[in-house]
């Protein structure tokens, strides 16, 4: 996996060494479950918390042009470290009202179409794309299915596979299945230290395999959604450290660390021509999998 190596070379040496150490001692079931809980912590910073701390001149773009403006998906333009970037990301709600409005960060197809529209705007104007992933999954609603949830998630990935601009995706909380990977087909995919990235929620997995959602902890231990294991499997290119105790303890510090990581990776990617970026991006994802 060329880019896994590439990723290790990026970021400052300290963080790089820290990652290596962590990779030595395999994360225990306890540590995995802790990550699951911290990834969902109610005070964990959400996409807009990072936006307001990392970006200047933020201008939010609304709507999918034709059906709705989905509050579960954020899209907009801002200046990161001087350069203009396009940013997309799911947004959970803080209070009860906002949570309902944003469907707990579970986008409808209209949300993914908004993201697609802004990705294409970024491509037109050569703005790098930053994607912040934080969702339990795409919204499983009747209208969502009628409006093509599956096809739209595929289309969002396809558009990301076509881009010739640098793209960095970071799982900042829950990387929930197809609804997460829809905006994570990027040149660099990172996870925060206590984020999770999984094919299914521990509860969902437990319900199916053990017929008991209570077995979530056992399920998590079985499919290992924590950052260390995702890095070991070559699924992500790096781990973004969080402040002591987790991102929820210090939003400002978490934002500084996140910004540093994103900027590091963009700096590296911006040296490559667009078609080479795309070629490597596709090659990276096409290399994922284990078989005999």
């Amino acid at each position: 996996m060329p880019l896994l190596g590439g990723a290790k070379l990026s970021g400052d040496l300290q963080r790089f060494e820290k990652q290596l150490e962590r990779m030595q001692e395999d994360a225990t079931d306890e540590e995995i479950w802790t990550s699951v809980q911290l990834a969902r912590h109610e005070n964990r910073p959400y996409t807009l918390d990072y936006v307001e701390r990392m970006l200047d001149d933020w201008f939010e773009l609304h709507g999918d042009r034709g059906n709705a403006d989905d509050g579960a998906m954020i899209a907009g333009l801002g200046r990161l470290d001087g350069r203009t970037v396009a940013l997309v990301g799911q947004q959970k709600g803080r209070d009860i009202k906002e949570r309902a409005e944003r469907r707990f960060g579970m986008p409808n197809p209209e949300g993914y179409r908004k993201a697609i529209r802004v990705m294409e705007l970024a491509e037109r104007h050569r703005f790098p794309l930053v994607s912040l992933v934080d969702t339990p999954g795409a919204y499983p609603g009747v209208a969502a299915e009628q409006h093509g949830q599956g096809g739209t998630i595929a289309e969002s990935q396809a558009v990301m596979a076509r881009l010739t601009i640098p793209t960095v995706a970071v799982v900042i909380g829950e990387g929930g299945s197809g609804g997460a990977v829809a905006i994570a087909l990027a040149d660099r995919v990172l996870m925060q230290e206590h984020a999770m990235y999984a094919v299914i929620s521990p509860e969902g997995c437990a319900t199916i395999l053990w017929r008991d959602a209570g077995e979530a902890k056992k399920a998590a231990a079985a499919f290992k959604p924590d950052a260390v294991h995702c890095l070991e499997l070559g699924v992500i290119d790096g781990i973004v450290p969080e402040p002591p105790g987790g991102a929820h303890e210090d939003h400002d510090a978490a934002a500084r660390l996140l910004q540093e990581a994103i900027v590091d990776h963009l700096d590296n990617l911006e040296d490559l021509p667009g078609d080479e970026l795309r070629r490597r991006r596709r090659a990276k994802f096409r290399s994922l999998g284990v078989f005999a």
Partner: protein, 278 residues
């Protein structure tokens, strides 16, 4: 719970089979094996489409002995040492034994009415047609084979979604197959996707919906989330054709519904339109 969206969900599987697999679950007509096979596993009385095995589909579509299988040797590994009620390795061995397949997809070269194409045919009998590393890799190789040979790719999907037992690597088969289709499209070759019951979760949310033309068998379930999950979350009673081919056609998500007996003729016409090499 919504993450269940790309997982094999028992609720997504066809209704529990009646006493005998040759009895139509809709009208209860009963058939002999040879009758069903002759009818392409379609109920002569009510038109119900029984599940159809991958090799039977290939035999019904490809010219005579034109099919040349590719990557048949690929087998799944167990990257996570996954163990639920039973080890994943044990489930794999059992599936291989009961289906005679190495995994849930068969790929290879073929001709249909003498026009060249590449086939990628899924088989629900192998662990619910779930997509793990082998399904992703074989579909990916099918894209390359079609591109290299300058022929269209035709896939038939039947899948409960991503294969949970391979964890995050199963999820990565979504972007992997998406990138493979994009490479195929950049090579200028067409992709025709046929969705059979059920095509859900991660397969629907990746290559299955990326065809230049999207076809579906009648009454096939094509939903990202399983009906049970949607019901649990939305607390609505679902429309009775929720996620079925007919609803998807009405909502603009597919190009056409093609009954199994007409599929070979339809694909042949599309191969002519896309000027597949004779």
């Amino acid at each position: 719970m919504s993450n269940i969206d790309v997982s094999v969900e028992t609720g997504d599987k066809p209704a529990p089979p009646p006493k005998h697999p040759n009895t139509c679950p809709v009208c209860h007509s009963h058939y002999r094996d040879d009758e069903l096979e002759a009818a392409l596993w379609v109920c002569a009385h009510c038109g119900h489409h029984f599940p159809m095995r991958a090799r039977a589909r290939i035999a019904s579509l490809a010219d005579g002995d034109s099919f040349v299988e590719e990557a048949a040797e690929l087998h799944s590994e167990d990257p996570l040492g996954f163990f639920d009620l039973r080890p994943y390795t044990e489930r794999l061995a059992e599936a291989e034994l009961s289906t005679g397949l190495a995994d849930a997809i068969v790929i290879g070269q073929a001709t249909i009415e003498s026009r060249g194409c590449e086939l990628a045919i899924m088989d629900f009998s192998f662990m619910g047609g779930s997509m793990g590393s082998v399904v992703g890799e074989k579909f990916s190789r099918a894209c390359d084979s079609a591109a290299e040979r300058g022929v269209p790719l035709i896939s038939i999907t039947s899948s409960g979604g991503a294969r949970m037992q391979e964890g995050i690597l199963a999820l990565m088969q979504l972007p992997k197959t998406v990138c493979s289709v994009e490479d195929l499209k950049d090579a200028g070759q067409p992709f025709i996707s046929v969705m059979a019951h059920p095509t859900t979760g991660g397969v629907l949310a990746s290559f299955a919906t990326m065809g230049d033309v999207l076809l579906a068998e009648p009454n096939a379930l094509m939903s990202f989330a399983g009906p049970r999950v949607v019901q649990q979350i939305t607390r609505e009673t679902l429309p009775e054709d929720f996620g079925r081919s007919e609803q998807n056609l009405r909502f603009g998500n597919i190009d056409a519904i093609v009954p199994r007996p007409e599929l070979r003729g339809t694909l042949s016409r599309l191969l002519r339109l896309f000027d597949a090499p004779v």
